[in-house]
Symmetry: C2
Subunit: 153 residues, 2 copies
């Protein structure tokens, strides 16, 4: 059996731009997530998705959304949203509301406590986000980044 040949790697010398973008997306997401998640957990006992859910509901008309729409918005599966809302309901931040027009659907309804929790957490969390991103990218770059990423959804 011959020893390992000395060629370093069978991989292309310069990977396609798409692959670089993908690996940087993975790394960037991990880095940002780890930092912001730890901060949010420490200061307000919320996960990132908890916060995103509260914030999405707050922006929705009447502070309510069908669970399935919330799932799509947060890029979760239906079961993912069930589990996420379990926690928020247990904490009294969100409650269930029926839909008289369609008995299959139940709304996720932001409570007053939820709105308050969001107000409390919002300022600090937004601050963390801005610190992280604005330290590294200027305003134009952030716009560009947001616009390019949006096209992946």
């Amino acid at each position: 059996m011959s020893r390992q040949v000395l060629t370093d790697t069978p991989v292309l010398e310069t990977p396609p731009a798409a692959v670089r973008a993908w690996t940087e997306l993975l790394r960037g997401h991990s880095a940002a997530t780890r930092l912001l998640s730890a901060e949010l957990q420490r200061t307000h006992c919320l996960t990132i998705n908890d916060f995103e859910a509260l914030s999405t509901l707050a922006a929705a008309e009447g502070g309510r959304m069908r669970r399935v729409d919330l799932a799509r918005r947060l890029m979760l599966t239906a079961s993912g949203v069930t589990r996420l809302l379990e926690g928020l309901e247990a904490a009294g931040l969100v409650e269930r509301a029926e839909c008289p027009a369609d008995l299959r659907v139940t709304y996720a309804q932001l409570t007053e406590a939820g709105r308050e929790k969001l107000r409390d957490a919002s300022c600090g969390h937004t601050g963390s986000i801005r610190t992280l991103f604005e330290e590294r990218l200027d305003e134009d770059e952030l716009d560009t980044l947001a616009e390019l990423l949006a096209r992946l959804g």
Copy 2:
């Protein structure tokens, strides 16, 4: 107790660019990850991190890295890498190698089977990535995206 006041939301009308970039990062990552992960799992029984680990090792000198360096590269914790490599070792794709100079460290060493698995999976996975990204962004935009994301790590 008064009825809910009619103001729609207490949130700023236009969120700062950093916040938009962050939420689009979350959404873009979810969308891309779900798609590519399902594909890779289906075609080669690998998770995204399995693939990234193999590919990172293949690009490293001698096909080996200290576990702690691999962790940093993949944006995982030390324990995360232990668990990830457990699976790859069990599958015979990676093996342990001692470091005579420092008894604390053990290398993760790509095996020939691992190199082969990577070759098998590489083409299809790269294809999926390119399809996903190049359908939505052109070459310049991909470069820009990669560069901007890289600054978050």
